[in-house]
């Protein structure tokens, strides 16, 4: 009954200091939303769950005349967080609809294949540009690790753009078909 990844992200955010649910959402938006997101509909219930388990405590404070509920990591919560950090990570899961389509590419017209790949490359380029505009959340403890995932993301999308561009070239060379023995090597 270990915590889920999102539950641990929330603990991790609180390890930088007390925060409200609203503030946690902001941090997630700024840093990990593109590969691990959480809506208010999960954040607030998770914070309550954490509190009931003694991983965090909460306090209602007034900040510039505004009420908010500040959550603070307890010793128990910190232990749970470190425990997760030091454990073996779950292997990545990818949900890549375009890759599924590839499986059934033989079923569509050659020119449609080219069109699909072209459109997809455009999508990837747009997304990479969006990534490059994200600025990492930097706290007083601001560190170079915050930038690391963005760097990873940019490189990941660069790889994808490259791979699909190669496929596109191959398809174009053969009028939307693939040679029996391909050699898509990067």
């Amino acid at each position: 009954m270990s915590n889920t990844t999102v539950e641990n992200i929330i603990l991790g955010c609180l390890s930088f200091g007390p925060k409200s649910g609203y503030e946690i959402k902001k941090i997630i938006n700024m840093s990990s939303s593109w590969f691990y997101n959480a809506s208010y509909g999960s954040i607030y219930p998770i914070l309550k769950k954490h509190e009931s388990k003694g991983l965090v405590t909460s306090e209602e404070v007034v900040d510039n005349g505004r009420y908010k509920r500040l959550y603070k990591l307890t010793d128990k919560g910190e232990k749970a967080f470190y425990n997760w950090m030091l454990g073996t990570p779950r292997l990545m899961t990818v949900k890549y609809e375009m890759a599924v389509k590839l499986m059934f590419f033989a079923k569509i017209e050659p020119q449609e294949r080219i069109k699909q790949v072209e459109e997809h490359i455009e999508q990837l380029i747009l997304f990479k540009q969006e990534l490059e505009e994200i600025e990492p959340y930097a706290d007083s403890e601001g560190d170079s690790y915050q930038r690391l995932i963005l760097d990873w993301g940019e490189n990941l999308y660069a790889f994808l753009i490259q791979w699909f561009s190669m496929l596109l070239e191959e398809l174009k060379k053969n009028n939307g078909d693939l040679p029996k023995r391909r050699s898509l090597k990067s």
Copy 2:
């Protein structure tokens, strides 16, 4: 209210000819399970749902003295499948726990960072090897596109291994720390 990806994968499998739920599961296991999986708990209900929508028809047949329910794509089902194939794909979603940990790397000991990255690289290498052992599902219509996603997967994991190896080197050079201005370029 368009079909989900898994619902379309099932239609796609049936586009190669009539199949039972059990056979569909086998095909998914052999080809897309590592990036789009489906358990019996989803396959059987989806087949029923497809039937109620008129996308497939079913027939109980005896095959070598064994009863099974064969599902067959209807014209309506084929249209739905092509419609999905020709539409814009949903952009990939990645759930990468290791990337999340990176965000909070400043919180753990330098030697633990190195250990985490080393363990992760081992995981990636193992997974890539497993991928390389998968043989694609090939039907009478067996085509080169079936191999394509496996090729994609192998290249994807090669990229990840490379990126994390570079990070590992960088960390080792600095005793588990990162220089203020990194230059992780691939």
